[in-house]
């Protein structure tokens, strides 16, 4: 009698054990699925990050081209090529990238080349991007702006040594996107009797590279006039060209 009653209890306990096993297994599988989802999100995030990163490279490449004399329309053409390339490169669904050239008082067709005579030169390219990605349960709408700007600032002064002989000090500062940046090449020239001269030809020429995007130059020459006109032409490490001129006063 007692044994038969216990048979029923054993049956219930066994059922509970089986149910517990099923639920434990399912919980384990669920955890694995969570890790998979997290991994997929990481992959997608890196893909989108890659699109943004390469969009920056497209804008920079266009700025390199235009700052070296290429047509401003090359920027738009490169962006159109990039849009088509991206649309065909996503195998898991739909990927649309639309770029709009910046247009304002300072930008024309997304390009700003302001190589002023006031000691400040700017080469810049700017575009707004809209990325739409869909498929396999994923829907991403994301907008970002890419603004690549190389800026050079020139300042300095001269000490009058008498008889038009002047000791000139020039400071050149280069920035990429507002942060100090190293130059690839810098050509400094000064105006003497109507022609641009290279101070490297002078024995007094000295250059100091601070290693942080600031370059200092000194040289002595006979330069008539009450100021010294200097011109700086820079290619930054990305290959973007920018130049500016300024008049240095007596220090």
């Amino acid at each position: 009698m007692l044994t038969k009653r216990r048979k029923g209890q054993v049956l219930v306990v066994a059922a509970l054990a089986i149910a517990l096993t099923i639920l434990t297994t399912q919980a384990y599988v669920y955890e694995l699925n969570n890790m998979k989802i997290s991994s997929e999100h990481g992959l997608l995030s890196d893909y989108i990050l890659g699109i943004k990163q390469e969009s920056r490279h497209v804008v920079t490449a266009s700025l390199v081209n235009v700052s070296h004399g290429g047509a401003a329309s090359n920027f738009e053409a490169n962006l159109e090529r990039w849009e088509v390339f991206v649309a065909g490169g996503y195998s898991l669904g739909r990927c649309d990238l639309n770029a709009t050239l910046a247009s304002s008082t300072t930008y024309s067709d997304g390009i700003r080349l302001d190589w002023g005579a006031n000691g400040s030169g700017v080469s810049s390219a700017c575009a707004d991007f809209a990325l739409n990605l869909g498929g396999r349960g994923v829907e991403v709408d994301w907008g970002f702006t890419v603004n690549m700007t190389s800026r050079v600032e020139v300042s300095g002064s001269y000490d009058d040594l008498g008889d038009d002989s002047k000791q000139v000090s020039v400071s050149v500062n280069l920035e990429n996107e507002g942060a100090s940046a190293l130059a690839g090449t810098i050509v400094l020239e000064y105006l003497k009797s109507g022609s641009w001269e290279d101070p490297k030809n002078l024995g007094s020429y000295a250059k100091l590279d601070s290693g942080n995007g600031t370059y200092r130059y000194t040289f002595i020459d006979t330069i008539p006039g009450t100021f010294v006109r200097v011109r700086v032409r820079v290619n930054d490490l990305r290959g973007v060209f920018v130049e500016t001129e300024t008049s240095l006063p007596s220090g």
Binding site: R5, L32, K36, L43, G50, A61, H68, F85, G89, S91
Partner: protein, 136 residues
């Protein structure tokens, strides 16, 4: 006797109900095969390519056709124990590398493939498609 039979029937019914409820609950949670290893391989590959081209290194090596150097860089960027095979295509889909860019062929339980779109910071803005196959 009849009451005992009824109790046994209730026991059996209770046990069956417990298992049925467990199965029902388990069926509600998503069930998928475990692809974790594959996804991690893909994610690691994509991460390596994104980081490599953060400063334009990958693009410069492709543009210079420096396949040997590219292979060395990938050996460093990818985790140890992961085999790889890289193919570079131009903007129009033609393969560019005339030598195999690999660390000895694809080996491993899992083989995965991913593609990365590459733009090079040079005047004509060349575009490339990089296909990275990974084994691990």
């Amino acid at each position: 006797m009849t009451r005992r039979g009824a109790v046994h029937t209730l026991d059996a019914f209770l046990a069956a109900s417990i298992i049925a409820m467990a199965l029902l609950y388990a069926a509600q949670t998503p069930r998928e095969r475990d692809y974790i290893g594959e996804e991690t391989l893909k994610a690691e590959g994509m991460q390596a390519l994104v980081q490599l081209n953060g400063n334009g290194t990958l693009g410069r090596l492709v543009e210079a056709r420096s396949w040997g150097e590219l292979e060395q860089v990938l050996r460093i960027a990818l985790p140890g124990g992961v085999s790889f095979n890289l193919t570079v295509f131009d903007e129009f889909g033609s393969p560019l590398n005339n030598v195999t860019i690999s660390n000895g062929g694809l080996v491993g339980r899992t083989v995965e493939s991913l593609e990365y779109l590459l733009a090079v910071e040079s005047g004509v803005c060349p575009l490339y498609r990089v296909r990275l196959q990974l084994g691990g």
